[in-house]
Symmetry: C2
Subunit: 335 residues, 2 copies
DNA sequence: GACTATAGTGCAATCGATTGCATTTCGCAC
DNA sequence: GTGCGAAATGCAATCGATTGCACTATAGTC
């Protein structure tokens, strides 16, 4: 495999100036068709490939989008959370479809805030997709002009002056709990930490569903768990020990739901016989577990694609509005 | 947030030449300590950030490694396969620890082969990590000089002249099946497509375990399934219908194992009562399903870290040998 | 045949940082 | 006060491509 060929060498070989080569490679109408073909042939003969940094420097762009996944350690999230990983996959796929490269960055806690600016301002990425805004809304609002090149995944926050894409968390929560209530369940344990904006909204949905059904949700029926779910198993055991009564669980994520099911079963409870469980996300494994998990599909793949599309539109200068994707109830065996 | 500041502007503000600024920022010993401090202060006041393309152009490096995940569509793989995703997470984490950016590329079938060269030769990435070599060994061997900047994940292939990192597939298969045989199981159904190198090796392990136990594996007990597992559920139902007897399943991946368990249960078989099941990978969900999956841990996170380390060492010019990571049997409830 | 648009090319500056070499500054010895 | 070596700093070329502008063929017009 040949070593790097520079454009100057290619130009010499084709007996033209580099400017002509450049235009030919960019398919400019200024170059005669015949010359173009000639240059293209020689280019492929010599195995010429453009040097990205040189072009990017001159063009002041990078044809790259950055995906930033700022973990919130206190919430117990890790990069191996299936939700994140599926999102990475979805965005990677969408970006490559659009001919963009994708830089994935998982800043550690102390790099927070700096990471985004570094990617944008060093010119490494033309635009950014940030997953999650937990506790960072002020930071995001301070982005100022940089916000023009940012799309954030998360719950829609009214005060956001940046573009947010997310699923309709309230509606999702409502669908989930409406389904449980329709099934005749009456005491729904909510598992999730409503300090996180998305979770908060999903809980709103739960309350709304109760209201619509003429019920009120018992505030005791809340088990605040981060997304990680590390301690969820034992925490739930403790709830069961306490004798608190409930006949359904609505978990703020599938990982939490799966852990909850596991914990319930370990306690001798039958799912869905004794307790119905609904999750949130519809990650891949939800369908292949036993019992298959009833959950709220927030269409991660679509979400990833939409974020890429919106970002590219923003970069092109189009004005773009925040967007809320619809959610869908997927009924399986856990309810 | 300020707009881009160029190094020349920073130099002017600090009353020095750009060369001094450059050296100061790179902490060169040629610059007086006091001058360094002065420049660093002004730099942070002005919010200066270096322009990556410019530096990369000059330095002929990118401080970026590329992660290429060439899907083999015939094998039913998708980017959302938990194994890939966990690998992405592991590599992303390791790369960022080392101060490298990570470009993730998922070439579609027709981009195959071209993607790697593009990333390297355009200077977008200094080195490459390629996940999986299925059916591409000749291509990889043809990389020639480029191979110096590539590390591949996969089964160790004797004829490879590139660096391969992978788990000890033979030993893994052996451990899994040895465990089943120790548990008194006698007829082990192998689920996996041995056209894929790793799977082939795992199957070797199965045979080896039989040999050690003085048994021979019945060649009928093979269900060739790609990694995707789309049709695995129904294929296994068909096997059950056929009356073929087996009391254990060794699946070439956890996804396959999970699907198999689901299929068995749907058929009324009890796991592990009627059939014991062992998977391969130890993906996150293996531990939180019911029954929790006995599986071979191939330490994905370690693998990702090791690949990054080896790649960086190669880039630094050190000679590096291929590496086989140890595997470990994780016993849970499915056996 | 001279003249003017127009299509094609080439020239040279430029993007922003790095680095070999030349130059200045400084401290110190005589 | 001069000289000299070492320590700091500046100058200018360079990395590889893009692009505004100047220039030269070419075709078409009268």
């Amino acid at each position: 495999m040949a070593k790097r060929i520079t454009m100057a060498e290619l130009a010499r070989a084709a007996n033209v100036d580099t400017s002509t080569v450049s235009r030919a490679l960019n398919d400019s109408s200024l170059v005669k068709e015949e010359t173009k073909r000639h240059i293209l042939n020689i280019a492929s003969d010599l195995g010429y490939v453009i040097h990205a940094s040189a072009r990017n420097l001159r063009r002041q762009s990078s044809e790259t989008i950055g995906l930033v996944i700022p973990l919130v350690p206190e919430s117990g999230q890790t990069i191996s959370d299936p939700f994140f990983l599926e999102m990475v996959g979805a965005v990677a796929h969408a970006a490559s479809q659009e001919g963009y490269d994708l830089i994935v960055n998982v800043p550690s806690a102390e790099q927070q805030d700096g990471a985004e600016q570094r990617l944008l301002q060093t010119g490494r990425a033309d635009g950014l997709i940030i997953i999650g805004q937990a506790g960072r809304t002020e930071f995001l609002n301070k982005l100022g002009k940089l916000a023009e090149r940012v799309v954030v995944w998360g719950g829609s926050v009214p005060e956001a002056n940046y573009t947010v894409v997310g699923s309709d968390n309230v509606r999702g929560g409502e669908l989930a709990v409406e389904h449980l209530l329709n099934r005749g369940r009456e005491r729904v344990l909510f598992v999730g930490d409503s300090a996180l904006p998305e979770v908060q909204l999903r809980y709103e949905g739960l309350k709304k569903a109760h209201r619509v059904a003429g019920l009120e949700h018992d505030a005791d029926l809340i088990l605040p768990e981060g997304f990680g779910g590390k301690s969820t198993f034992t925490d739930l055991q403790r709830v069961l020990d306490s004798g608190l009564e409930f006949d359904a669980v609505f978990a703020a994520s599938d990982v939490l739901a799966i852990t909850a099911i596991h914990s319930l079963q370990a306690y001798g409870k039958h799912v869905p016989g004794d307790v119905s469980v609904v999750g949130y996300d519809n990650i891949g494994q939800a369908s292949i577990m036993t019992p298959a998990l009833t959950t709220i599909d927030q269409h991660i793949a679509d979400g990833g694609r939409i974020m890429v599309e919106l970002l590219l539109r923003k970069l092109a200068g189009t004005d773009v509005r925040s967007r809320t994707n619809s959610t869908e109830l997927v009924i399986r065996d856990s309810t």
